[in-house]
Symmetry: C2
Subunit: 370 residues, 2 copies
């Protein structure tokens, strides 16, 4: 087994441009190979089905310039959502779980962890649930509408019309994702596998959410997916944390439970009528530890504010007679969980708590699910 | 079973903005649901392992503006390559196959076909091969370097510095991918599932290959992947068709066979020394039918020109004593295959021919594979 502490120091040293080899008296400056870190489960994974498909999408007529100039103008599809799925053998009757990633990320968030352990996608399948992992519209294999980029390039549209393309620096990820209060200095109890933080860095993709139509087409696509599957548990993370709520409001009968993992915010703008509707769907909110860490992001000074916004929402839903609760691991003596809780070292412990909640709270498939 | 002909007409009609419902006297204007089209195999898929990881990547220091403005400046990773993999139970000893997609596409090309049939990724796994499916650097879950976009947006870099972002229109795909000579008019023997052509349209993502470093970082990443796996069959398609050749030249001992599926071109620029090197690796080139179709793309008037460039390369490699050959299905009486041959209706028939070639030609793992 690798010495995580030395390896972690080594990675941090690499990140900050120096090597600790001399200090430690051994050559630890080489980054571990991601592929070599992959762990093989003890038992095989038996799937009834696996594959991928798209949900949604609209036709857009574009000029030759908008299509990049190589071929003639015409129609393309935009705003479609890629979904990869795995159905366990014998798991047809269990509630499907849809796992949606956060800002600057893709469905990769839920797959193999940065240090090579099984992702939640496979773990939930092994626990009997069909699992569906989308890439949000505008990112990853869902693509994005490139027309404005080529129009700006051609000079027919002002550069200011470009959306911002967001990525988080490795340095800001440490406090923002709560691995530690500053880069390279993990909390003593940090559950994130910080030795592999460079592998998390590779998961980053440019995020033009601020240039997307509002509301995000991902929300409608999630509702369509839930409808086609005749009932699902919708799980969001971070920026997509509130998406399950908004998707549920588009078709309540197709949502059997909502799991909000470290949502960036829980909206305070729902009407009483919307809260009454949400009170018909079981809701679980999950947050990790160290929420008071200053994030370094001006629009969200701390995740404690997100936590409190969700406590407020839970309060409103419960007052309307709903089944809503907070899963706050520190209250159970589970310390050190990060914002990337699905990749933390104790990620299966957290998954088991969510699976237990699903077993105890998720609604039965309604006869009239449409 | 769906009436493919009616459904095909329906899809084409939808694409061109009118409905045939009145003409046919029945409501066929509704597009079939992609999810409902998914076919479930008769036997389960048993995997020793599955998951994903990244290969390669470089640190890039960027300003707050270049990172989209939400957080402070710092380092991010760019030019990494996402890879999804499946290892069949009991298939450890068989040669892994790496499947690389073409222009404006992602690894989705090799997954579930547009009409819901099993993709080559799963089929090769079921035939015993570990399969690795990357997204090319710059697309899909591999992400791209967004710095120039945000610099242009801020006005510090001229808009002309933007790369073109390429997509093919639905209309040009018909002749360019050789489903038919014009949109909505499939060849009578077309093997492409044209009723589902709108689902192929959804697979398109913006492609900024022309803005990538040269040679593409994907080539080095493929060679690194081959090296880490201690020997693979490298399969490229279309724009990535020549990548297996270039990756092999970076580490010959890690390439056990090269399969070029409908390559956009076979380079005529290799030196005699490079040809001598390539002559040590078995090479198979695969092309479909109707190659004389005018593509509508000025830089490649027909795929016959691509075919002939590969015949020329095969000739050079064979003259140097190599094992190189063309798989030309029409010569075997197999007609109507398209550019998207891995999605054609007879895609498993073509896959079987490639699998047979791998079994008979792929090199054994060399003892000195490094």
């Amino acid at each position: 087994m690798r010495d995580d502490r030395v390896s972690m120091l080594s990675r941090s040293a690499t990140l900050f441009g120096f090597t600790l080899a001399g200090v430690l008296g051994t050559a630890v400056g080489v980054r571990a190979q991601a592929l070599e870190d992959l762990q093989t489960p003890e038992t095989p994974l038996v799937l009834k089905a696996q594959g991928s498909f798209y949900v949604g999408g609209e036709k857009s007529e574009q000029t030759q310039v908008e299509l990049g100039g190589l071929g003639p103008g015409g129609h393309i599809t935009v705003d479609q959502m890629y979904v990869r799925y795995m159905v366990p053998q014998g798991g047809d009757g269990n509630v499907p779980v849809v796992m949606v990633h956060g800002a600057t990320l893709t469905g990769k968030s839920w797959e193999t962890t940065p240090d090579g352990r099984m992702g939640w996608d496979e773990y939930f399948v092994r626990k009997g649930h069909p699992v569906y992992v989308p890439d949000q519209v505008g990112r990853g294999r869902s693509g994005f509408n490139q027309a404005v980029l080529n129009d700006v390039r051609a000079g027919s549209v002002p550069a200011a019309n470009l959306p911002p393309w967001l990525r988080f620096s490795d340095e800001v990820v440490w406090p923002n994702f709560r691995f530690g209060s500053k880069p390279g200095a993990p909390y003593p109890d940090s559950q994130f596998p910080v030795a592999a933080v460079d592998e998390l860095s590779k998961q980053g993709v440019p995020d033009m959410s601020f240039g997307m139509p509002r509301p995000s087409p991902t929300i409608k696509a999630l509702s369509s997916l839930a409808t086609e599957l005749r009932g699902v548990v919708l799980m969001g993370h971070s920026q997509s944390g509130p998406f399950p709520l908004d998707a549920a409001l588009l078709n309540l009968s197709a949502t059997r439970g909502l799991v909000l993992v470290e949502p960036g915010r829980c909206p305070d703008t729902y009407t009483d009528q919307q809260i009454t509707a949400l009170a018909t769907v079981p809701i679980l909110v999950v947050f990790g530890d160290h929420r008071d860490t200053p994030t370094g992001i001006s629009t969200r000074p701390s995740w404690q504010l997100s936590f409190e916004s969700c406590q407020a929402l839970i309060g409103r839903v419960k007052a309307a007679g709903g089944d809503a609760q907070m899963l706050n691991p520190p209250e159970r003596g589970i310390r050190g969980n990060s914002h990337m809780i699905m990749q933390d070292r104790n990620h299966l412990q957290i998954a088991d708590l969510i699976l237990q909640w699903i077993a105890e709270h998720a609604r039965k498939r309604s006869a009239d699910a449409k």
